[in-house]
């Protein structure tokens, strides 16, 4: 129980609830089930993307190309839908995911085979992937009237009161929970991040693990490409521009250590919810968008400070125990 109270995810959950409570105090109705479901739906894509980024960060890397990957994959399916509306939407969802997977695999290959640091590779592909959107769309937008009805509805169908978009996020969260805690891949990802040298001596291929992580983040970016275009009913070069930093912010707020190896699915989800709740709550209580940016910035720094200090404490504790044992 004490370990539970010390844990980052617990306090983050408390903060998120307090934010909802405080906003509801100022603006009754904010905490109504419909409104909360709406906030969750708004945060769904960020949750999915944060999980992809989490896997990459856990292996001591970073994927800055996620938002560009999303925009490119989204544009591809948007153009296909506009040209061939008869192709079923699930096929397009798979195609977007596959496009994202390929783009992620390209990042991963550069990092694994050529050994370029991930921040450099993905900074490059961040621009390259967005540049491709210009090439394939000729700089034009795909407007709302060119999408098929079905294409737009696949994020909106309701089931048990929640839109499909929310359900996609829920399914992916469950899938990730299993992946990270119940599969050997998840175990390897943590081992590589927490101590690459020991992982190497244990026979784990570090480069391949990072490659797989980039494939995962790429596939999720691609899938979110469809979700984004469908939800906002627009395909353009500007889609999700700058969003890669929001994704990283959600991870950091969620307690995922930039140094790798430390972080949980719950943390990533809560980090994304924190940002989602904040961007919904602040306009309600009449705070300007400038303050939103300042507050999310402050939250990032605070989260890092809290994490750093709690990790230091646990290290000292270990030393004492070792002294006592010897």
């Amino acid at each position: 129980m004490r370990a539970f109270i010390r844990n980052h995810e617990f306090w983050l959950a408390v903060v998120v609830v307090l934010m909802i409570g405080a906003t509801a105090f100022r603006s009754p109705g904010f905490a109504s089930p419909e409104k909360l479901a709406g906030i969750f739906n708004d945060s769904s894509m960020l949750i999915i993307l944060a999980l992809g980024q989490m896997v990459v960060i856990l292996t001591r890397s970073i994927d800055l190309s996620m938002a560009s990957n999303l925009a490119l994959s989204g544009m591809i399916v948007a153009l296909i839908n506009a040209a061939y509306p008869e192709i079923p939407v699930p096929a397009l969802m798979l195609l977007a995911t596959f496009c994202g997977l390929c783009l992620g695999a390209f990042n991963g290959t550069m990092i694994w085979w050529i050994g370029i640091p991930s921040i450099v590779v993905t900074l490059g592909t961040l621009t390259i992937y967005r540049g491709f959107i210009f090439l394939i769309a000729g700089g034009k937008w795909v407007n709302a009237d060119r999408f098929s009805e079905e294409f737009v509805q696949y994020t909106r169908y309701e089931f048990l009161g929640l839109p499909a978009l929310s359900w996609y996020a829920i399914i992916i969260v469950i899938g990730f929970f299993i992946l990270m805690t119940r599969t050997s891949l998840g175990r390897s990802i943590y081992a590589v991040g927490v101590n690459p040298s020991a992982a190497l001596y244990t026979g784990i291929n570090i480069g391949r693990t990072q490659f797989v992580a980039f494939c995962i983040s790429g596939a999720l970016s691609g899938f979110c490409g469809y979700l984004w275009v469908s939800r906002y009913v627009i395909g353009s070069v500007e889609v999700a521009k700058g969003y890669e930093l929001t994704i990283v912010a959600a991870c950091v707020i969620g307690g995922i250590s930039i140094a790798g190896g430390v972080g949980t699915v719950a943390g990533a989800v809560l980090g994304a919810l924190f940002l989602g709740v904040m961007s919904n709550a602040l306009p309600v209580i009449g705070v300007s968008p400038f303050w939103q940016m300042a507050i999310s910035g402050a939250a990032i720094i605070l989260a890092v400070i809290i994490n750093a200090s709690s990790q230091q404490k646990s290290k000292r504790l270990i030393l004492k125990q070792e002294n006592a044992a010897s």
Binding site: R182, R187, V194, L200, Y201
Partner: protein
């Protein structure tokens, strides 16, 4: 005899579980070179760190020029004129030669900015003074050879007007010619009245340069005197001493056919012409000085190193492991020397550490089966008498000996044929040492083969069936460990003191 420039009196330093220095004395006199001699792990490095303010002693006193001092930090030691030149010089590759010489005490202009003109000219003068006029002051240190880096380090020592210069194996990485130049320099420092501590494993160097000697063994000072009065044999005996009472498991030799054959195993820069057989049920010891290339050979066998040549045959099949995963597939596992960094993952629970290489067998279609993992971990933890409150606790909470057991358990769990142990008992307490030794005995009885890299002579003599001695990246000799093999023979062979018949 004049007053010692620096005198250490009854210095004691303990680390959790290990007494690194036990009431040692050392005195360095101006204008003399004192050689510090001892086996690996005798406490030489700890002493150097104590003298340069990196470690604080737990007991004893240090006197500089007759006055008691407290070396609280490297900076305090530096201000008292104590400087060390390390085996791998600790300087800054991205800074220029002059900056390296004057880092921390560079000449300043009126505006308290670095006076580059003054700094370069003073650096020039210092380098010229030690006969290093060929080194430019404005090149970056990374473009300077190792020998010249040593000269820069010496110039730095002179720039702070150090009275005590500690040289920790300065010749280890130098060529013959460069060593000669370094010796000329040491002679010059000596004639300038510096007190010099010279640490080396090479007896010819020691006899050539040093006036006095001090011998350490197991953290204790066991002898000192003038080298001119002391023959080599006496010093070797002091180094070895009567071995500490350690009981090694006795076992009946039951050595089978060769299981691993290595022929002409070579690497472009690290080792050459390594050829040996490992038999079923055998413990093959690898002895040598630090830096003799033993770990490098083992890491190459384990697939960590690329660009090796030679033929490795395991159980009749030629193998060439290109990654640890491939080596593990061929039944070869490796316990690295840096237990905390490369062996256990301190932030993962014990059971996850143990099951990590076995995940393919404990999981089904990529999905973990926790119950199986726990069962596996429990089986091997029990066999190794691993003491932990719960297998769920983080490996970092265990003592060094128990951490080592975690690493051994993780490898046994994959049921290997060959287990390579690199310094398996380094830095662990006596009780755990005995447990590791007993376990090695059990392993070979069960038909495994063990390669044990060790720098501890009692361990090498107590455990090995045969001993390979390596020197400077090559095999110096192979000995059968019968009653005639002595510690002296091993040390002589490893240090290259005399020609030994192989």
């Amino acid at each position: 005899m004049s007053v010692p420039q620096i005198k250490l009196s009854k210095i004691t330093k303990t680390f959790p579980g290990v007494r690194a220095l036990s009431e040692v004395d050392l005195a360095l006199y101006p204008g003399q070179v004192t050689a510090l001699i001892g086996e690996n792990g005798a406490g030489k490095s700890t002493l150097v760190k104590t003298m340069t303010g990196i470690y604080q002693p737990d007991g004893g006193e240090i006197f500089v020029a007759g006055k008691a001092v407290n070396l609280q930090s490297p900076h305090a030691a530096f201000q008292l004129g104590i400087t060390a030149i390390h085996q791998e010089t600790v300087l800054f590759d991205e800074l220029t030669v002059a900056e390296n010489i004057f880092l921390g005490h560079s000449p300043k202009t009126r505006f308290n900015l670095i006076d580059w003109v003054e700094m370069n000219s003073r650096a020039r003068a210092l380098l010229d003074d030690i006969g290093a006029s060929h080194i430019a002051t404005d090149v970056r240190l990374k473009d300077v050879s190792i020998a010249n880096k040593h000269l820069v380090a010496v110039a730095r020592a002179l720039s702070i007007e150090a009275d005590v210069v500690i040289m920790d194996e300065p010749t280890a990485a130098l060529s013959y010619k460069e060593i000669e130049d370094l010796f000329t320099l040491v002679e010059k420092l000596k004639s300038d009245g510096k007190a010099i501590l010279f640490i080396s494993h090479k007896f010819d160097e020691i006899y050539r340069l040093a006036d006095r000697y001090t011998v350490f063994r197991d953290g204790e000072m066991v002898g000192e005197g003038l080298l001119a009065d002391t023959p080599q044999n006496e010093i070797v005996e002091m180094m070895v001493g009567r071995s500490v009472e350690q009981i090694f498991p006795s076992r009946t030799l039951d050595i089978g056919e060769p299981i691993l054959t290595v022929q002409n195993f070579s690497h472009p820069t690290e080792f050459a012409d390594i050829s040996f057989d490992l038999h079923k049920g055998e413990i093959l010891g690898f002895y040598g000085l630090v830096g003799a290339g033993r770990s490098e050979v083992m890491q190459a066998l384990f697939g960590m190193t690329h660009g090796t040549s030679g033929v490795i045959t395991s159980q009749g099949k030629t193998i060439s492991p290109k990654s640890p995963a491939e080596a593990i597939q061929s039944g070869i596992v490796y316990l690295p020397e840096e237990r905390g960094k490369q062996g256990v993952i301190l932030d993962l629970p014990i059971f996850q550490n143990i099951s990590l290489p076995s995940l393919s067998t404990t999981s089904r279609n990529g999905f973990l089966r926790m119950a199986k993992e726990f069962e596996l971990a429990r089986t091997y933890a029990t066999r190794l008498d691993l003491r932990a409150a719960s297998l769920d606790q983080h490996a970092g909470t265990l003592s060094g000996g128990n951490q080592q057991k975690v690493v051994i358990a993780k490898w046994l769990a994959i049921q290997p044929n060959i287990i390579i142990l690199d310094e398996p008992t380094k830095g662990i307490d006596i009780g755990s040492k005995a447990a590791v030794h007993a376990f090695m005995g059990e392993l070979v009885e069960q038909g495994l083969s063990v390669i044990m890299v060790s720098s501890e002579i009692p361990e090498v003599l107590g455990m090995s069936d045969r001993v390979v001695v390596m020197r400077e990246g090559r095999m110096a000799s192979v000995f059968n460990n019968d009653d005639t093999l002595t510690a002296e023979t091993l040390i002589r062979c490893a240090a290259g003191i005399e020609e030994q018949a192989a």
